[in-house]
Symmetry: C2
Subunit: 308 residues, 2 copies
Amino acid sequence: MSKLVIVGTVAFDAIETPFGKTDKILGGAGTFIGLAASQFNVDSSVVSIVGGVFPQKYLDMLSDRNIDVSGIEIVKDGKTFFWSGLYHNDMNSRDTLATELNVLADFEPVVPETYRDAKIVMLGNLHPLTQLSVLEQMHDTPDLVVLDTMNFWMDSALEDLHNVIKKVDVITINDEEARQLTGEYSLVVAAKKIHEMGPKYVVIKKGEHGALLFNEDNVFYAPALPLKEVFDPTGAGDTFAGGFVGYLAKSNNLSFENMKNAVIYGSTLASFCVEKFGTERMINLSSKEVYQRLQQFKNLTQFDIELS
Amino acid sequence: MSKLVIVGTVAFDAIETPFGKTDKILGGAGTFIGLAASQFNVDSSVVSIVGGVFPQKYLDMLSDRNIDVSGIEIVKDGKTFFWSGLYHNDMNSRDTLATELNVLADFEPVVPETYRDAKIVMLGNLHPLTQLSVLEQMHDTPDLVVLDTMNFWMDSALEDLHNVIKKVDVITINDEEARQLTGEYSLVVAAKKIHEMGPKYVVIKKGEHGALLFNEDNVFYAPALPLKEVFDPTGAGDTFAGGFVGYLAKSNNLSFENMKNAVIYGSTLASFCVEKFGTERMINLSSKEVYQRLQQFKNLTQFDIELS
Protein backbone atom coordinates (compact mmCIF):
# COMPACT_ATOMS: atom_id res chain seq x y z
CA MET A 1 0.00 0.00 0.00
CA SER A 2 1.41 3.40 -1.05
CA LYS A 3 0.38 6.82 0.21
CA LEU A 4 -1.48 8.81 -2.41
CA VAL A 5 -1.58 12.58 -2.91
CA ILE A 6 -4.45 13.97 -4.99
CA VAL A 7 -4.71 17.58 -6.10
CA GLY A 8 -7.95 18.74 -7.65
CA THR A 9 -10.99 20.91 -7.18
CA VAL A 10 -13.54 20.44 -4.45
CA ALA A 11 -16.50 22.30 -5.84
CA PHE A 12 -20.18 22.84 -6.31
CA ASP A 13 -21.81 21.75 -9.54
CA ALA A 14 -25.27 22.50 -10.90
CA ILE A 15 -26.13 20.00 -13.59
CA GLU A 16 -28.89 19.68 -16.11
CA THR A 17 -29.38 16.54 -18.19
CA PRO A 18 -32.31 15.16 -20.20
CA PHE A 19 -33.23 13.30 -16.98
CA GLY A 20 -33.48 16.31 -14.69
CA LYS A 21 -31.53 19.06 -13.00
CA THR A 22 -29.86 19.72 -9.69
CA ASP A 23 -29.25 22.66 -7.39
CA LYS A 24 -25.68 23.15 -6.23
CA ILE A 25 -24.35 19.73 -5.33
CA LEU A 26 -20.94 18.45 -4.29
CA GLY A 27 -18.53 18.00 -7.19
CA GLY A 28 -14.98 18.70 -8.30
CA ALA A 29 -12.17 16.56 -9.69
CA GLY A 30 -10.49 16.17 -6.29
CA THR A 31 -13.75 14.94 -4.79
CA PHE A 32 -14.45 12.37 -7.50
CA ILE A 33 -10.85 11.14 -7.59
CA GLY A 34 -10.72 10.86 -3.79
CA LEU A 35 -14.03 8.99 -3.57
CA ALA A 36 -13.01 6.51 -6.25
CA ALA A 37 -9.58 5.91 -4.72
CA SER A 38 -11.18 5.43 -1.30
CA GLN A 39 -12.79 2.22 -2.59
CA PHE A 40 -9.34 0.67 -2.12
CA ASN A 41 -8.94 1.91 1.48
CA VAL A 42 -5.69 3.62 0.59
CA ASP A 43 -4.18 6.39 2.69
CA SER A 44 -4.81 9.45 0.55
CA SER A 45 -4.78 13.19 0.94
CA VAL A 46 -6.85 15.57 -1.17
CA VAL A 47 -5.16 18.94 -1.66
CA SER A 48 -7.66 21.61 -2.60
CA ILE A 49 -9.38 24.86 -1.61
CA VAL A 50 -12.95 25.78 -0.67
CA GLY A 51 -14.91 28.81 0.55
CA GLY A 52 -15.87 29.70 4.10
CA VAL A 53 -19.36 28.27 4.13
CA PHE A 54 -18.42 24.95 2.55
CA PRO A 55 -20.38 22.36 4.56
CA GLN A 56 -18.32 20.54 7.18
CA LYS A 57 -20.40 17.41 6.53
CA TYR A 58 -18.76 17.00 3.14
CA LEU A 59 -15.30 17.19 4.66
CA ASP A 60 -16.39 14.71 7.32
CA MET A 61 -17.74 12.40 4.63
CA LEU A 62 -14.30 12.40 2.99
CA SER A 63 -12.50 11.90 6.32
CA ASP A 64 -14.76 8.95 7.08
CA ARG A 65 -13.35 7.33 3.95
CA ASN A 66 -9.76 7.56 5.14
CA ILE A 67 -9.15 10.67 3.03
CA ASP A 68 -6.94 13.26 4.73
CA VAL A 69 -8.54 16.71 4.32
CA SER A 70 -5.90 18.77 6.13
CA GLY A 71 -4.66 19.89 2.71
CA ILE A 72 -8.04 21.42 1.81
CA GLU A 73 -7.62 25.10 2.53
CA ILE A 74 -10.72 26.89 3.79
CA VAL A 75 -10.87 30.56 2.77
CA LYS A 76 -13.14 32.26 5.30
CA ASP A 77 -14.28 35.11 3.12
CA GLY A 78 -14.14 33.19 -0.12
CA LYS A 79 -16.66 31.28 -2.17
CA THR A 80 -16.23 27.72 -3.36
CA PHE A 81 -15.52 27.07 -7.05
CA PHE A 82 -18.79 26.64 -8.94
CA TRP A 83 -19.49 25.03 -12.30
CA SER A 84 -22.77 24.63 -14.08
CA GLY A 85 -23.38 22.59 -17.22
CA LEU A 86 -26.11 21.38 -19.52
CA TYR A 87 -25.77 17.98 -21.21
CA HIS A 88 -27.28 17.40 -24.63
CA ASN A 89 -29.40 14.42 -25.58
CA ASP A 90 -26.47 12.28 -26.68
CA MET A 91 -24.75 12.91 -23.31
CA ASN A 92 -21.43 13.20 -25.11
CA SER A 93 -21.51 16.96 -25.50
CA ARG A 94 -22.31 19.67 -23.02
CA ASP A 95 -22.53 23.43 -22.69
CA THR A 96 -20.91 25.17 -19.77
CA LEU A 97 -23.51 27.55 -18.36
CA ALA A 98 -21.36 29.09 -15.63
CA THR A 99 -17.81 28.90 -14.31
CA GLU A 100 -17.16 30.88 -11.13
CA LEU A 101 -13.53 30.34 -10.14
CA ASN A 102 -13.94 32.12 -6.78
CA VAL A 103 -11.25 30.83 -4.34
CA LEU A 104 -9.74 28.69 -7.10
CA ALA A 105 -8.39 31.85 -8.76
CA ASP A 106 -5.71 32.17 -6.07
CA PHE A 107 -5.22 28.51 -5.26
CA GLU A 108 -1.70 27.73 -4.08
CA PRO A 109 -1.79 24.08 -3.09
CA VAL A 110 0.10 23.03 0.02
CA VAL A 111 0.76 19.31 0.38
CA PRO A 112 0.54 18.31 4.07
CA GLU A 113 4.01 17.56 5.47
CA THR A 114 3.06 13.96 6.29
CA TYR A 115 2.16 13.29 2.66
CA ARG A 116 5.25 14.78 1.01
CA ASP A 117 6.82 11.34 0.96
CA ALA A 118 3.84 9.79 -0.86
CA LYS A 119 4.84 7.36 -3.61
CA ILE A 120 1.90 8.11 -5.90
CA VAL A 121 0.67 11.55 -6.97
CA MET A 122 -2.50 12.25 -8.94
CA LEU A 123 -2.59 15.68 -10.54
CA GLY A 124 -6.25 16.40 -11.25
CA ASN A 125 -7.28 18.84 -13.94
CA LEU A 126 -6.01 22.31 -12.91
CA HIS A 127 -3.70 24.99 -14.30
CA PRO A 128 -0.44 23.22 -15.22
CA LEU A 129 1.57 25.53 -12.93
CA THR A 130 -0.64 24.55 -9.99
CA GLN A 131 -0.03 20.90 -10.84
CA LEU A 132 3.70 21.58 -11.09
CA SER A 133 3.87 23.25 -7.67
CA VAL A 134 2.50 20.06 -6.07
CA LEU A 135 5.23 18.00 -7.68
CA GLU A 136 7.87 20.43 -6.43
CA GLN A 137 6.72 19.94 -2.84
CA MET A 138 7.32 16.20 -2.86
CA HIS A 139 10.45 15.18 -0.92
CA ASP A 140 11.60 12.44 -3.26
CA THR A 141 10.63 11.62 -6.79
CA PRO A 142 7.36 9.69 -6.47
CA ASP A 143 7.15 6.22 -7.98
CA LEU A 144 4.22 7.30 -10.15
CA VAL A 145 2.81 10.67 -11.16
CA VAL A 146 -0.47 10.70 -13.07
CA LEU A 147 -1.66 13.83 -14.85
CA ASP A 148 -5.16 14.65 -15.99
CA THR A 149 -5.71 17.72 -18.13
CA MET A 150 -8.05 19.18 -20.72
CA ASN A 151 -8.25 21.17 -23.92
CA PHE A 152 -8.73 24.44 -22.00
CA TRP A 153 -5.07 24.38 -20.91
CA MET A 154 -3.92 23.51 -24.42
CA ASP A 155 -5.60 26.69 -25.61
CA SER A 156 -4.49 28.94 -22.76
CA ALA A 157 -1.27 27.58 -21.20
CA LEU A 158 0.31 25.19 -23.68
CA GLU A 159 3.93 25.86 -22.73
CA ASP A 160 3.22 25.35 -19.03
CA LEU A 161 1.28 22.22 -19.88
CA HIS A 162 4.26 20.82 -21.81
CA ASN A 163 6.47 21.55 -18.81
CA VAL A 164 4.33 19.44 -16.51
CA ILE A 165 3.68 16.72 -19.11
CA LYS A 166 7.47 16.31 -19.28
CA LYS A 167 7.57 15.38 -15.60
CA VAL A 168 4.80 12.79 -15.31
CA ASP A 169 4.66 9.04 -15.84
CA VAL A 170 1.04 8.72 -16.96
CA ILE A 171 -1.24 11.16 -18.72
CA THR A 172 -5.00 10.67 -18.94
CA ILE A 173 -6.65 12.62 -21.70
CA ASN A 174 -9.70 12.22 -23.90
CA ASP A 175 -9.56 11.31 -27.58
CA GLU A 176 -10.29 14.77 -28.96
CA GLU A 177 -7.74 16.30 -26.59
CA ALA A 178 -5.10 13.76 -27.63
CA ARG A 179 -5.74 14.77 -31.22
CA GLN A 180 -5.53 18.48 -30.35
CA LEU A 181 -2.32 18.06 -28.35
CA THR A 182 -0.53 16.17 -31.11
CA GLY A 183 -2.22 17.21 -34.35
CA GLU A 184 -2.65 13.52 -35.18
CA TYR A 185 -5.99 11.88 -35.94
CA SER A 186 -4.87 8.30 -35.32
CA LEU A 187 -4.86 7.66 -31.58
CA VAL A 188 -1.99 5.19 -32.02
CA VAL A 189 0.15 7.89 -33.60
CA ALA A 190 -1.07 10.48 -31.07
CA ALA A 191 -0.04 8.20 -28.18
CA LYS A 192 3.40 7.80 -29.74
CA LYS A 193 3.83 11.57 -29.94
CA ILE A 194 2.74 11.98 -26.33
CA HIS A 195 5.33 9.37 -25.28
CA GLU A 196 7.93 11.58 -26.90
CA MET A 197 6.73 14.49 -24.72
CA GLY A 198 7.62 12.50 -21.59
CA PRO A 199 4.95 10.15 -20.21
CA LYS A 200 5.77 6.45 -20.36
CA TYR A 201 2.07 5.63 -20.22
CA VAL A 202 -0.79 7.27 -22.07
CA VAL A 203 -4.43 6.67 -21.21
CA ILE A 204 -6.87 7.91 -23.85
CA LYS A 205 -10.45 8.14 -22.60
CA LYS A 206 -13.14 7.64 -25.23
CA GLY A 207 -16.27 8.05 -23.07
CA GLU A 208 -18.91 5.47 -24.01
CA HIS A 209 -16.31 3.79 -26.23
CA GLY A 210 -14.00 2.95 -23.34
CA ALA A 211 -10.34 3.73 -22.74
CA LEU A 212 -6.98 2.84 -24.26
CA LEU A 213 -3.77 2.33 -22.28
CA PHE A 214 -0.49 2.63 -24.18
CA ASN A 215 3.13 2.21 -23.34
CA GLU A 216 5.80 2.31 -26.01
CA ASP A 217 5.28 -1.29 -27.06
CA ASN A 218 1.82 -2.32 -25.94
CA VAL A 219 -1.78 -1.27 -26.00
CA PHE A 220 -4.74 -2.34 -23.89
CA TYR A 221 -8.39 -1.54 -24.55
CA ALA A 222 -10.96 -1.41 -21.76
CA PRO A 223 -14.51 -0.93 -22.99
CA ALA A 224 -17.04 1.12 -21.12
CA LEU A 225 -19.86 -1.03 -19.82
CA PRO A 226 -22.78 -0.61 -22.24
CA LEU A 227 -25.51 1.10 -20.20
CA LYS A 228 -29.23 1.51 -20.73
CA GLU A 229 -28.84 5.12 -19.85
CA VAL A 230 -26.15 7.53 -18.75
CA PHE A 231 -27.86 9.65 -16.14
CA ASP A 232 -25.08 12.20 -15.55
CA PRO A 233 -21.56 11.92 -17.01
CA THR A 234 -20.12 14.54 -14.64
CA GLY A 235 -17.08 13.19 -12.85
CA ALA A 236 -16.79 9.98 -14.88
CA GLY A 237 -13.30 10.81 -16.12
CA ASP A 238 -12.12 11.78 -12.63
CA THR A 239 -13.68 8.65 -11.16
CA PHE A 240 -11.84 6.61 -13.79
CA ALA A 241 -8.56 8.30 -12.80
CA GLY A 242 -9.28 7.81 -9.10
CA GLY A 243 -9.97 4.12 -9.60
CA PHE A 244 -6.79 3.83 -11.65
CA VAL A 245 -4.45 5.41 -9.08
CA GLY A 246 -6.33 3.96 -6.12
CA TYR A 247 -5.85 0.43 -7.40
CA LEU A 248 -2.17 1.06 -8.16
CA ALA A 249 -1.61 2.59 -4.71
CA LYS A 250 -3.19 -0.43 -3.10
CA SER A 251 -1.48 -3.10 -5.19
CA ASN A 252 1.99 -1.53 -5.26
CA ASN A 253 2.72 -2.97 -8.67
CA LEU A 254 3.44 -0.60 -11.55
CA SER A 255 3.87 -3.18 -14.30
CA PHE A 256 1.95 -2.75 -17.56
CA GLU A 257 0.02 -5.95 -16.80
CA ASN A 258 -1.14 -4.53 -13.49
CA MET A 259 -1.98 -1.19 -15.09
CA LYS A 260 -4.43 -3.12 -17.28
CA ASN A 261 -6.22 -4.14 -14.10
CA ALA A 262 -6.10 -0.54 -12.88
CA VAL A 263 -7.80 0.59 -16.09
CA ILE A 264 -10.51 -2.04 -15.59
CA TYR A 265 -11.08 -0.84 -12.02
CA GLY A 266 -11.24 2.74 -13.27
CA SER A 267 -13.81 1.80 -15.92
CA THR A 268 -15.81 -0.20 -13.40
CA LEU A 269 -16.05 2.68 -10.94
CA ALA A 270 -16.83 5.18 -13.72
CA SER A 271 -19.74 2.97 -14.79
CA PHE A 272 -21.31 3.56 -11.37
CA CYS A 273 -20.56 7.28 -11.28
CA VAL A 274 -22.80 8.04 -14.27
CA GLU A 275 -25.83 6.28 -12.77
CA LYS A 276 -26.84 9.20 -10.53
CA PHE A 277 -26.26 12.93 -10.30
CA GLY A 278 -22.89 14.09 -9.05
CA THR A 279 -21.22 12.04 -6.32
CA GLU A 280 -24.42 10.37 -5.11
CA ARG A 281 -23.71 6.92 -6.52
CA MET A 282 -20.06 6.93 -5.46
CA ILE A 283 -20.94 7.84 -1.88
CA ASN A 284 -23.39 4.93 -1.69
CA LEU A 285 -21.36 2.21 -3.31
CA SER A 286 -20.64 -1.12 -1.66
CA SER A 287 -17.66 -3.35 -2.31
CA LYS A 288 -20.12 -6.12 -3.18
CA GLU A 289 -21.55 -4.00 -5.99
CA VAL A 290 -18.04 -3.32 -7.28
CA TYR A 291 -17.25 -7.02 -7.17
CA GLN A 292 -20.37 -7.89 -9.16
CA ARG A 293 -19.66 -5.29 -11.78
CA LEU A 294 -16.08 -6.52 -12.17
CA GLN A 295 -17.62 -9.89 -12.98
CA GLN A 296 -19.76 -8.16 -15.60
CA PHE A 297 -16.61 -6.61 -17.07
CA LYS A 298 -15.02 -10.03 -17.29
CA ASN A 299 -18.08 -11.44 -19.07
CA LEU A 300 -18.07 -8.41 -21.33
CA THR A 301 -14.48 -8.72 -22.47
CA GLN A 302 -12.96 -12.11 -21.77
CA PHE A 303 -13.05 -14.86 -24.38
CA ASP A 304 -11.60 -18.28 -24.70
CA ILE A 305 -9.57 -18.75 -27.86
CA GLU A 306 -6.69 -21.13 -27.21
CA LEU A 307 -3.46 -20.16 -28.94
CA SER A 308 -0.83 -22.79 -28.43
CA MET B 1 -17.95 -28.22 -40.12
CA SER B 2 -21.22 -26.86 -41.59
CA LYS B 3 -21.89 -25.87 -45.18
CA LEU B 4 -22.27 -22.13 -45.62
CA VAL B 5 -24.38 -20.21 -48.12
CA ILE B 6 -23.47 -16.57 -48.70
CA VAL B 7 -25.55 -14.19 -50.76
CA GLY B 8 -24.06 -10.81 -51.61
CA THR B 9 -22.71 -8.64 -54.36
CA VAL B 10 -19.65 -9.44 -56.43
CA ALA B 11 -18.74 -6.07 -57.79
CA PHE B 12 -16.27 -3.51 -58.98
CA ASP B 13 -15.32 -0.65 -56.69
CA ALA B 14 -13.40 2.52 -57.37
CA ILE B 15 -12.14 3.98 -54.13
CA GLU B 16 -10.54 7.24 -53.15
CA THR B 17 -9.04 7.78 -49.70
CA PRO B 18 -6.57 10.32 -48.29
CA PHE B 19 -3.91 7.71 -49.14
CA GLY B 20 -4.67 7.36 -52.82
CA LYS B 21 -7.20 6.13 -55.33
CA THR B 22 -7.92 3.03 -57.37
CA ASP B 23 -9.34 2.19 -60.77
CA LYS B 24 -12.08 -0.42 -60.82
CA ILE B 25 -11.02 -3.18 -58.46
CA LEU B 26 -12.70 -6.33 -57.17
CA GLY B 27 -15.20 -5.68 -54.38
CA GLY B 28 -18.69 -6.50 -53.20
CA ALA B 29 -20.15 -7.85 -49.97
CA GLY B 30 -20.28 -11.43 -51.26
CA THR B 31 -16.61 -11.26 -52.21
CA PHE B 32 -15.45 -9.90 -48.87
CA ILE B 33 -17.65 -12.29 -46.86
CA GLY B 34 -16.48 -15.27 -48.92
CA LEU B 35 -12.80 -14.38 -48.63
CA ALA B 36 -13.03 -13.93 -44.86
CA ALA B 37 -14.97 -17.18 -44.37
CA SER B 38 -12.46 -19.03 -46.55
CA GLN B 39 -9.82 -18.47 -43.85
CA PHE B 40 -11.56 -21.32 -42.01
CA ASN B 41 -11.50 -23.70 -45.00
CA VAL B 42 -15.25 -24.13 -44.80
CA ASP B 43 -17.34 -25.40 -47.69
CA SER B 44 -19.13 -22.26 -48.83
CA SER B 45 -21.08 -21.08 -51.84
CA VAL B 46 -21.34 -17.45 -52.89
CA VAL B 47 -24.65 -16.67 -54.61
CA SER B 48 -24.38 -13.55 -56.73
CA ILE B 49 -24.51 -12.06 -60.23
CA VAL B 50 -21.91 -10.44 -62.53
CA GLY B 51 -21.66 -9.07 -66.05
CA GLY B 52 -20.37 -10.81 -69.14
CA VAL B 53 -16.82 -9.49 -69.12
CA PHE B 54 -16.22 -10.15 -65.43
CA PRO B 55 -12.69 -11.61 -65.29
CA GLN B 56 -12.58 -15.40 -64.95
CA LYS B 57 -9.41 -15.02 -62.84
CA TYR B 58 -11.47 -13.57 -59.99
CA LEU B 59 -13.86 -16.52 -60.07
CA ASP B 60 -10.87 -18.86 -60.16
CA MET B 61 -9.35 -17.05 -57.19
CA LEU B 62 -12.53 -17.72 -55.23
CA SER B 63 -12.71 -21.37 -56.37
CA ASP B 64 -9.10 -21.86 -55.29
CA ARG B 65 -10.25 -20.95 -51.78
CA ASN B 66 -12.85 -23.70 -51.66
CA ILE B 67 -15.65 -21.25 -52.49
CA ASP B 68 -18.30 -22.67 -54.81
CA VAL B 69 -19.03 -20.15 -57.55
CA SER B 70 -21.72 -22.09 -59.43
CA GLY B 71 -24.28 -19.79 -57.84
CA ILE B 72 -22.70 -16.70 -59.37
CA GLU B 73 -24.83 -15.98 -62.44
CA ILE B 74 -22.98 -14.50 -65.41
CA VAL B 75 -25.16 -12.22 -67.55
CA LYS B 76 -23.56 -12.17 -70.98
CA ASP B 77 -24.83 -8.80 -72.11
CA GLY B 78 -24.86 -7.23 -68.68
CA LYS B 79 -22.42 -5.11 -66.74
CA THR B 80 -21.18 -5.89 -63.24
CA PHE B 81 -22.44 -3.81 -60.32
CA PHE B 82 -20.19 -0.80 -59.78
CA TRP B 83 -19.74 1.42 -56.75
CA SER B 84 -17.44 4.38 -56.30
CA GLY B 85 -16.77 6.21 -53.07
CA LEU B 86 -14.62 8.92 -51.54
CA TYR B 87 -13.54 8.62 -47.90
CA HIS B 88 -13.01 11.74 -45.82
CA ASN B 89 -10.01 12.40 -43.64
CA ASP B 90 -11.46 10.77 -40.55
CA MET B 91 -12.18 7.59 -42.58
CA ASN B 92 -15.50 7.23 -40.75
CA SER B 93 -17.58 9.07 -43.31
CA ARG B 94 -17.70 8.75 -47.05
CA ASP B 95 -19.47 10.12 -50.10
CA THR B 96 -20.86 7.77 -52.70
CA LEU B 97 -19.69 9.09 -56.07
CA ALA B 98 -21.44 6.52 -58.26
CA THR B 99 -23.74 3.53 -57.90
CA GLU B 100 -24.42 1.63 -61.11
CA LEU B 101 -26.68 -1.32 -60.29
CA ASN B 102 -26.35 -2.86 -63.76
CA VAL B 103 -27.05 -6.64 -63.53
CA LEU B 104 -27.89 -6.28 -59.84
CA ALA B 105 -31.16 -4.53 -60.76
CA ASP B 106 -32.66 -7.85 -61.89
CA PHE B 107 -30.82 -10.17 -59.53
CA GLU B 108 -32.83 -13.27 -58.66
CA PRO B 109 -30.50 -15.40 -56.57
CA VAL B 110 -30.51 -19.15 -57.15
CA VAL B 111 -28.91 -21.25 -54.42
CA PRO B 112 -27.12 -24.25 -55.99
CA GLU B 113 -29.03 -27.47 -55.32
CA THR B 114 -26.11 -28.98 -53.40
CA TYR B 115 -26.09 -26.08 -50.95
CA ARG B 116 -29.81 -25.96 -50.18
CA ASP B 117 -29.19 -28.15 -47.14
CA ALA B 118 -26.53 -25.78 -45.75
CA LYS B 119 -26.80 -25.26 -42.00
CA ILE B 120 -25.55 -21.66 -42.01
CA VAL B 121 -26.77 -18.84 -44.24
CA MET B 122 -25.21 -15.40 -44.47
CA LEU B 123 -27.47 -12.80 -46.06
CA GLY B 124 -25.17 -10.01 -47.21
CA ASN B 125 -26.47 -6.48 -47.66
CA LEU B 126 -29.07 -6.55 -50.50
CA HIS B 127 -32.74 -5.72 -50.98
CA PRO B 128 -34.62 -7.52 -48.18
CA LEU B 129 -36.79 -9.40 -50.71
CA THR B 130 -33.66 -10.73 -52.40
CA GLN B 131 -32.41 -11.90 -49.01
CA LEU B 132 -35.79 -13.48 -48.29
CA SER B 133 -35.83 -15.43 -51.55
CA VAL B 134 -32.56 -17.12 -50.56
CA LEU B 135 -34.06 -18.25 -47.28
CA GLU B 136 -37.09 -19.64 -49.07
CA GLN B 137 -34.88 -21.84 -51.24
CA MET B 138 -33.32 -23.66 -48.28
CA HIS B 139 -34.67 -27.20 -47.82
CA ASP B 140 -34.77 -27.20 -44.03
CA THR B 141 -34.60 -24.37 -41.55
CA PRO B 142 -30.88 -23.60 -41.25
CA ASP B 143 -29.27 -23.73 -37.82
CA LEU B 144 -28.18 -20.13 -38.15
CA VAL B 145 -29.18 -17.27 -40.43
CA VAL B 146 -27.17 -14.07 -40.23
CA LEU B 147 -28.45 -10.87 -41.81
CA ASP B 148 -26.46 -7.79 -42.72
CA THR B 149 -28.31 -4.69 -43.85
CA MET B 150 -27.98 -0.92 -44.04
CA ASN B 151 -29.86 2.35 -43.61
CA PHE B 152 -30.70 2.51 -47.34
CA TRP B 153 -33.25 -0.33 -46.91
CA MET B 154 -34.68 1.29 -43.80
CA ASP B 155 -35.42 4.35 -45.90
CA SER B 156 -36.71 2.54 -48.99
CA ALA B 157 -38.06 -0.90 -48.01
CA LEU B 158 -38.72 -0.89 -44.29
CA GLU B 159 -41.66 -3.30 -44.32
CA ASP B 160 -39.76 -5.85 -46.40
CA LEU B 161 -36.78 -5.40 -44.12
CA HIS B 162 -38.92 -6.15 -41.06
CA ASN B 163 -40.19 -9.29 -42.79
CA VAL B 164 -36.70 -10.66 -43.25
CA ILE B 165 -35.45 -9.48 -39.83
CA LYS B 166 -38.26 -11.57 -38.32
CA LYS B 167 -36.79 -14.71 -39.86
CA VAL B 168 -33.11 -14.43 -38.90
CA ASP B 169 -31.13 -15.46 -35.84
CA VAL B 170 -28.41 -12.79 -35.97
CA ILE B 171 -28.45 -9.29 -37.37
CA THR B 172 -25.27 -7.27 -37.93
CA ILE B 173 -25.84 -3.55 -38.16
CA ASN B 174 -23.85 -0.43 -37.41
CA ASP B 175 -24.52 1.86 -34.46
CA GLU B 176 -26.22 4.64 -36.38
CA GLU B 177 -28.38 2.12 -38.22
CA ALA B 178 -29.39 0.43 -34.96
CA ARG B 179 -30.47 3.86 -33.72
CA GLN B 180 -32.39 4.56 -36.92
CA LEU B 181 -34.13 1.18 -36.91
CA THR B 182 -35.31 1.50 -33.32
CA GLY B 183 -35.47 5.21 -32.60
CA GLU B 184 -33.35 4.60 -29.49
CA TYR B 185 -30.05 6.33 -28.78
CA SER B 186 -28.82 3.84 -26.18
CA LEU B 187 -27.40 0.81 -27.97
CA VAL B 188 -28.44 -1.40 -25.06
CA VAL B 189 -32.06 -0.33 -25.48
CA ALA B 190 -31.78 -0.51 -29.28
CA ALA B 191 -30.52 -4.11 -29.06
CA LYS B 192 -33.47 -5.00 -26.83
CA LYS B 193 -35.91 -3.57 -29.37
CA ILE B 194 -34.23 -5.49 -32.19
CA HIS B 195 -34.54 -8.71 -30.15
CA GLU B 196 -38.27 -8.04 -30.06
CA MET B 197 -38.26 -7.85 -33.86
CA GLY B 198 -36.99 -11.43 -34.05
CA PRO B 199 -33.22 -11.95 -33.93
CA LYS B 200 -31.90 -13.75 -30.85
CA TYR B 201 -28.48 -12.18 -31.41
CA VAL B 202 -27.65 -8.60 -32.32
CA VAL B 203 -24.21 -7.49 -33.43
CA ILE B 204 -23.72 -3.72 -33.45
CA LYS B 205 -20.66 -2.62 -35.39
CA LYS B 206 -19.02 0.60 -34.20
CA GLY B 207 -16.16 0.88 -36.71
CA GLU B 208 -12.94 1.96 -35.00
CA HIS B 209 -14.73 1.52 -31.64
CA GLY B 210 -15.26 -2.19 -32.13
CA ALA B 211 -18.40 -4.31 -32.02
CA LEU B 212 -20.99 -5.38 -29.47
CA LEU B 213 -22.68 -8.79 -29.38
CA PHE B 214 -25.99 -9.03 -27.51
CA ASN B 215 -28.37 -11.80 -26.68
CA GLU B 216 -31.30 -11.22 -24.34
CA ASP B 217 -29.24 -11.60 -21.20
CA ASN B 218 -25.63 -10.96 -22.12
CA VAL B 219 -23.37 -8.54 -23.88
CA PHE B 220 -19.85 -8.93 -25.23
CA TYR B 221 -17.60 -6.13 -26.45
CA ALA B 222 -14.84 -6.75 -28.98
CA PRO B 223 -12.66 -3.72 -29.61
CA ALA B 224 -11.23 -2.92 -33.00
CA LEU B 225 -7.47 -3.21 -33.02
CA PRO B 226 -6.09 0.34 -32.69
CA LEU B 227 -4.29 0.99 -35.96
CA LYS B 228 -1.72 3.56 -37.01
CA GLU B 229 -3.73 4.14 -40.12
CA VAL B 230 -6.85 2.84 -41.78
CA PHE B 231 -5.89 2.69 -45.42
CA ASP B 232 -9.30 1.76 -46.87
CA PRO B 233 -12.34 0.81 -44.77
CA THR B 234 -14.22 -0.68 -47.75
CA GLY B 235 -15.37 -4.21 -46.96
CA ALA B 236 -14.43 -4.13 -43.27
CA GLY B 237 -18.00 -4.79 -42.12
CA ASP B 238 -18.45 -7.61 -44.63
CA THR B 239 -15.11 -9.10 -43.66
CA PHE B 240 -16.20 -8.97 -40.03
CA ALA B 241 -19.42 -10.82 -40.92
CA GLY B 242 -17.50 -13.36 -43.02
CA GLY B 243 -15.11 -14.09 -40.18
CA PHE B 244 -18.05 -14.40 -37.81
CA VAL B 245 -20.00 -16.95 -39.88
CA GLY B 246 -16.89 -18.70 -41.15
CA TYR B 247 -15.71 -19.41 -37.61
CA LEU B 248 -19.17 -20.60 -36.57
CA ALA B 249 -19.45 -22.83 -39.66
CA LYS B 250 -16.10 -24.38 -38.83
CA SER B 251 -16.60 -24.82 -35.09
CA ASN B 252 -20.21 -26.03 -35.22
CA ASN B 253 -20.99 -24.48 -31.85
CA LEU B 254 -23.67 -21.80 -31.66
CA SER B 255 -23.42 -21.03 -27.94
CA PHE B 256 -23.07 -17.42 -26.84
CA GLU B 257 -19.59 -18.17 -25.49
CA ASN B 258 -18.49 -19.44 -28.90
CA MET B 259 -20.11 -16.46 -30.64
CA LYS B 260 -17.76 -14.28 -28.57
CA ASN B 261 -14.88 -16.08 -30.27
CA ALA B 262 -16.58 -15.61 -33.64
CA VAL B 263 -16.78 -11.85 -33.00
CA ILE B 264 -13.07 -11.80 -32.14
CA TYR B 265 -12.24 -13.66 -35.37
CA GLY B 266 -14.41 -11.22 -37.30
CA SER B 267 -12.64 -8.24 -35.73
CA THR B 268 -9.26 -9.81 -36.35
CA LEU B 269 -9.92 -10.36 -40.05
CA ALA B 270 -11.46 -6.88 -40.44
CA SER B 271 -8.28 -5.39 -38.99
CA PHE B 272 -6.37 -6.83 -41.95
CA CYS B 273 -8.96 -5.82 -44.54
CA VAL B 274 -8.47 -2.08 -43.94
CA GLU B 275 -4.69 -2.24 -44.41
CA LYS B 276 -4.84 -2.18 -48.22
CA PHE B 277 -7.22 -1.19 -50.98
CA GLY B 278 -10.18 -3.47 -51.60
CA THR B 279 -9.57 -7.22 -51.28
CA GLU B 280 -5.80 -7.03 -51.68
CA ARG B 281 -4.89 -7.74 -48.08
CA MET B 282 -7.47 -10.51 -47.69
CA ILE B 283 -6.23 -12.31 -50.79
CA ASN B 284 -2.69 -12.28 -49.45
CA LEU B 285 -3.26 -13.27 -45.87
CA SER B 286 -1.54 -16.22 -44.22
CA SER B 287 -2.87 -18.24 -41.31
CA LYS B 288 0.31 -17.37 -39.44
CA GLU B 289 -0.52 -13.67 -39.70
CA VAL B 290 -4.05 -14.36 -38.42
CA TYR B 291 -2.62 -16.34 -35.51
CA GLN B 292 -0.25 -13.52 -34.57
CA ARG B 293 -3.01 -10.94 -34.69
CA LEU B 294 -5.26 -13.07 -32.51
CA GLN B 295 -2.44 -12.98 -29.98
CA GLN B 296 -2.46 -9.19 -30.28
CA PHE B 297 -6.21 -9.21 -29.62
CA LYS B 298 -5.66 -11.26 -26.49
CA ASN B 299 -3.00 -8.85 -25.26
CA LEU B 300 -5.30 -5.98 -26.12
CA THR B 301 -8.29 -7.20 -24.16
CA GLN B 302 -7.45 -9.90 -21.64
CA PHE B 303 -6.64 -9.01 -18.04
CA ASP B 304 -6.00 -10.92 -14.90
CA ILE B 305 -8.25 -9.87 -12.05
CA GLU B 306 -9.06 -12.86 -9.87
CA LEU B 307 -12.63 -12.95 -8.61
CA SER B 308 -13.12 -15.81 -6.22
